[in-house]
């Protein structure tokens, strides 16, 4: 399983890349594998405020619909609208297919580093 060392992660399987004061957010390789083929994504709108631990959208796979939980708090400054037409990129390129960008960012304390996230995934099986 691919867990890039430079990213931070949440226990609910989202990744965060800090780019200055902007947090780029997507779902991890573990998440896309567990979901199976993603067929639809419900995206939030630019300007929405998000709270760490709360849902900001949902993804639908052939198995189920699952919430995407925001790993940080802040305001959405950009949404990857291209995912709406090509949700399968969440499967093929989970770390390239970012979903939202958030700025300014707070509540980052609970994020895991790659090693801690890998241990968390091993536990969840």
């Amino acid at each position: 399983m691919n867990i890039p060392a430079e990213l931070k992660y949440s226990k609910s399987h989202e990744w965060v890349k800090m780019d200055g004061d902007v947090a780029v957010i997507g779902i991890s390789d573990f998440a896309q594998d567990a979901l199976g083929d993603v067929v639809f994504i419900n995206l939030p709108a630019e300007g929405d405020s998000v709270t760490a631990g709360e849902s900001f959208g949902d993804v639908e796979s052939v198995k189920a619909v699952s919430d995407v939980i925001c790993p940080v708090s802040g305001t959405i400054c950009e949404v990857n609208e291209a995912l709406a037409d090509a949700p399968e990129t969440l499967n093929s390129d989970p770390y390239g297919a970012w979903i939202i960008k958030v700025s300014p960012v707070t509540d980052t304390e609970a994020l895991l580093d790659a090693a801690a996230y890998e241990a968390h995934c091993a536990q969840e099986g």
Partner: protein
């Protein structure tokens, strides 16, 4: 195989309409093109549907343990009664003096189900389960609004709920508060206590829950909601496990829906028609959809509840389903209803115990009418997923269990055998499941590519979801 529209030739058909004996009337708006109707003979029509019949699997073909769907065998006497000309030739607008038998059927079933539910009034308008949920939650909304309590904006739903519960609450304009289940699959009481408050409109709950376990804290759960000023809605999806044994009304629920097409044995699985009968306690009766059947001076009539939320469906719901359910209830009687529930639970536990040494049970305890296995370990060891195993079952002529539900169990297979299966059938099925388990270890590739003997092989579910074709494109 050809579709019905691709059969026959232009102009071929059957004269089904008797000669017109009333003056012809031109509709004010003419269609710009003729209706696309099949041009086939009766012979072609019969062969087409017989061919379709041979390619599907229903409860009349074999085992159908689709968890949470209660695919029980539907007694044929129910069909006989629903086919009585006195019922089939009714017009919903004919004078009620001439339809007293139909009104009596609605009234009688309402009283019988009220007894099973522990509720004081029942409506048959909702067309199916989710529609019943919608109606029930509208009753809760009407109750709060009527009291001028507009601060109650939230409905609490456990994370094990059917997806229709949060959808219903949202459709009724409520905010959905999701609370986690404990390790035993039951409601986490501390999480529930933390979630309730003056903004709680109500709770939506299935008991037994979606993992097939009866929540032992049910009286405490409904009390927590009531103490906070909210109402309790019972999703009757799993009523088959407890009918005639315990009553949702006695568990503390204020309103309920029951999928008559599941618990009360009317055919389902093909998209309807169903019936989502809704029951409520006396204090909610005045908000019920109208009209309700009432009996006065030995005659049946209709009455509109005082503060009715209005109609939720035209006329009286899917009446033919009501007739089937009434026949089912009257043929089983009070003791038979209870016995059916107890046998449903017994059958599920029989299969669970037969399988638990081979498969991993998500919750290793006595279950109600269904149980959930987790194939996480098998998947890790062999690469064979719940989906692969389910597809493998098709080659043995079995309908697979529900897959990947509930969401709180990974690689889930959810099995609900129902009371209408014999020990011999269940023994055979358990043998096949174990054989497939062995096959996962010895020849996983066969399962990755299953099914092999069905009219169509593995379908492109992803393609179907991403590129939906929902109607036939006429040339």
């Amino acid at each position: 195989m050809k579709l019905i529209f691709e059969l026959g030739v232009e102009g071929r058909g059957m004269t089904l309409m008797p000669e017109c004996d009333v003056p012809e009337y031109q509709l004010p708006e003419e269609r710009s093109e003729a209706l696309h109707l099949p041009h086939v003979s009766e012979n072609e029509l019969t062969r087409h549907y017989t061919a379709l019949c041979k390619r599907i699997h229903g409860v009349n073909d074999g085992f159908y343990p689709l968890g949470s769907c209660t695919m029980k065998y539907n007694p044929k006497i129910d069909e006989d009664m629903a086919a009585l000309p006195g019922f089939t030739q009714l017009h919903p607008l004919q004078p009620i003096e001439t339809a007293q038998g139909a009104l009596e059927a609605l009234h009688t079933l309402g009283a019988e189900l009220g007894e099973v539910f522990g509720m004081d009034a029942v409506t048959f308008q909702p067309a199916a389960g989710a529609h019943g949920e919608f109606t029930g939650v509208l009753l809760i909304k009407a109750y709060h609004t009527d009291r001028g309590d507009t601060a109650r904006t939230k409905i609490i739903v456990p994370d094990s709920a059917h997806g229709t519960n949060p959808a219903t609450a949202a459709m009724c304009g409520f905010q959905v508060i999701n609370i986690p289940s404990g390790v035993d699959g039951c409601v986490d009481l501390d999480a529930l206590r933390a979630a309730v408050g003056p903004d709680t409109a109500g709770l939506m709950l299935t008991n037994p829950n979606t993992v097939g376990i009866f929540d032992k804290n049910i009286l405490e759960i409904t009390k927590i909601i009531h103490d906070a000023g909210g109402l309790c809605y019972y999703d009757g999806a799993n009523l088959n496990a407890v009918m005639g044994v315990v009553r949702p009304g006695d568990m503390g629920f204020d309103c309920i829906h029951s999928n008559l097409h599941k618990t009360f044995a009317t055919p389902h699985g093909g998209g309807g028609p169903g019936a989502g009968a809704v029951g409520c306690k006396e204090f909610l009766k005045k908000y019920m959809p109208g009209p309700l059947v009432v009996k006065k001076d030995g005659k049946y009539g209709f009455a509109y509840p005082e503060k009715s939320i209005g109609r939720v469906k035209m006329f009286y719901g899917n009446f033919d389903v009501v007739v089937r359910a009434l026949t089912y209830v009257l043929t089983l009687g009070k003791s038979g209803i209870r016995e059916a529930a107890m046998n449903a639970v017994l059958n599920a536990n029989y299969m669970r115990v037969r399988l638990k040494d081979t498969f991993t049970m998500a919750y290793d305890e006595i279950c109600m009418h269904e149980f959930v296995m987790s194939l996480v370990d098998l998947h890790k060891e062999t690469g064979v997923s719940a989906l692969d195993l389910a597809k493998g079952m098709l080659d043995f002529g079995l309908h697979p269990p529900t897959m990947y539900f509930p969401l709180i169990v990974h690689e889930a297979l959810m099995i609900e055998p129902c009371e209408t299966e014999s020990k011999e059938t269940m023994d055979e099925v358990c043998g096949i499941y174990c054989k497939l388990f062995e096959l996962a270890h010895s020849d996983p590739e066969t399962l990755h590519t299953a099914p092999h003997s069905t009219p169509v092989r593995r379908l492109d579910e992803v393609g179907a979801a991403r590129n939906m074709v929902l109607r036939y494109q006429f040339a």
